[in-house]
Symmetry: C2
Subunit: 285 residues, 2 copies
DNA sequence: TAGTGGTCTAGACCACATG
DNA sequence: ATGTGGTCTAGACCACTAT
């Protein structure tokens, strides 16, 4: 199947093309009865109109609804049956869309209960974004303390990575993760100022829990994915002082770019990891 | 559904319980017509017999067939239709099993062509297991050279990680990955001797291509998954010499345990990464 | 033209959670 | 008892590949 909301490829030869809701088709229904003309012609004319299967269009609509805040993290989304009715497709098609979103950790499903918007308040999410592990094995119990939080003019590379306009301000945060009261990770974050108005050091210090949970709850920004680059470096003076180690000792540098819906970049994070008793865990699957 | 090959839970109340092939049921067919008795009783009697849905049983059977070498890497497996007939289930059930195997990179599907056993000879596989990237971006063109290959009595931790019997020998390999003729990664591998008989330095040096491709083609061992632990360390003398750097300079240490079918561990690998112009890439999804 | 996987539908029933 | 997601089936048609 290749149907789309772009009206161009309604012209398929399926018997019954279920409408995707009245608001979706820009063309009169009749167009979809002409077999293999509109689609073929348009394929030639407009190079690369992206055709996508129904379930993926549903997925996109769900994604947009989530992005717009229609359902909040932790809340239940409508049931498969309900969504199928709403979008005018079969339950199986909705299911496939939801399954992909669940695989991407955007939603979580609970048999018998429903489908929910996933949240950084769940343990599950913290496992995904905190890769520090004890050498002995297992997740370390960490404590976070905010060392610094101020609005800054970000470095050029941060501006670029966050796709900010030149001159826009950013929020800079420095925080220490301690394990058993010993420094383990020094994190330096940059956030787009426009998305995090009112983020102050006091606010951060009051908050107990993962930063991402605060960002999600108070600023409506959910981190969905991240890309990281890891290096072993000699620890610079600034960071060595804060970590309580000699300048030049090896530390693991973790550069992260986090994205939210539509792959919009919303966080640059640089972590300095002490890896004497801990390590960065990764699973190749 | 909760049906299983363990004969115990054939007693479900579905109208038609498709047999999973004549060899699968230890009970007479009649048992499956008794609604909700055998299953309930057995559930009480035997604590925790693992029930699994049909598609997962199919997946397991496919996995075992692959493990036994019934279909070789690169080869096509029977079509969905064929497998459905063979196992006596619907095509949709087979499809679900195959989809999971494809998600785990055990199989690859190609529309119009068929479903194939994936192989380390494909570029796809190399992307998964080589995480070194240029800082500029993109996969570096690497050259591998074998420095050492001999049978050894492995260190105790390697023996344990590979679940080998005490006293069993291992194959130890040292190889350098160079990028643009400069050393980039020094790898030290331990492999169970029993699985890699006849693996010699000559054989390794002759072979062009990824080690895993050789292991797969010549020794029938496919790496399917791996777990890695990363640390920043001061480079030890031995490795510094080979890498051409000063002793004590920071290097990225990557400890890998690779597994094959049934999560059997089959490789311990320790990599020393120079991360001046390169980095270890990771995607948090 | 035939065969493969990919999408979509419809309907049944099971398993789980809650009231 | 009801509503949710989870499994399984059957059948239709589409898209792609090869011959």
């Amino acid at each position: 199947m290749s149907r789309d909301l772009l009206s161009l490829n309604q012209a398929t030869s399926r018997q019954e093309a279920p409408s995707l809701g009245p608001d979706l088709s820009g063309l009169p229904k009749a167009a979809s009865e002409l077999p293999g003309i509109g689609a073929e012609a348009s394929k030639e004319a407009f190079d690369a109109p992206t055709f996508s299967p129904l379930y993926r269009q549903i997925k996109d609509r769900l994604m947009r609804a989530l992005d717009s805040g229609e359902w909040q993290p932790g809340q239940m989304v409508p049931s498969e049956h309900e969504l199928a009715k709403r979008y005018g497709v079969s339950q199986g098609t909705v299911r496939k869309a939801i399954e992909e979103l669940a695989a991407e950790h955007v939603l979580v499903r609970h048999q018998g209960k429903g489908t929910f918007v996933s949240s950084h308040h769940e343990e599950r999410a913290q496992f995904r974004f905190l890769r520090l592990r004890r050498d002995a094995g297992g997740l370390p119990a960490t404590e976070s303390s905010i060392l610094e939080c101020r609005r800054v003019r970000p470095p050029a590379d941060v501006t670029r990575e966050l796709q900010m306009r030149a001159g826009e301000s950013a929020v800079f945060i420095r925080r220490m993760l301690t394990v058993d009261a010993f420094p383990a990770v020094l994190d330096e974050l940059w956030l787009p100022g426009s998305l995090f108005r009112g983020l102050t050091q006091e606010r951060l210090q009051q908050y107990k829990g993962p930063l991402y949970a605060l960002f999600e709850a108070s600023f409506g920004t959910r981190m969905l994915k991240a890309r990281e680059q890891l290096k072993a470096i000699s620890c610079p003076a600034d960071q060595a002082l804060l970590l309580g180690i000699e300048v030049g000792k090896p530390v693991l540098l973790v550069d992260r770019l986090s994205t939210t819906y539509q792959d919009r970049p919303v966080e640059v994070r640089r972590g300095f990891y002490l890896t004497e008793k801990h390590h960065y865990f990764n699973a190749l699957v």
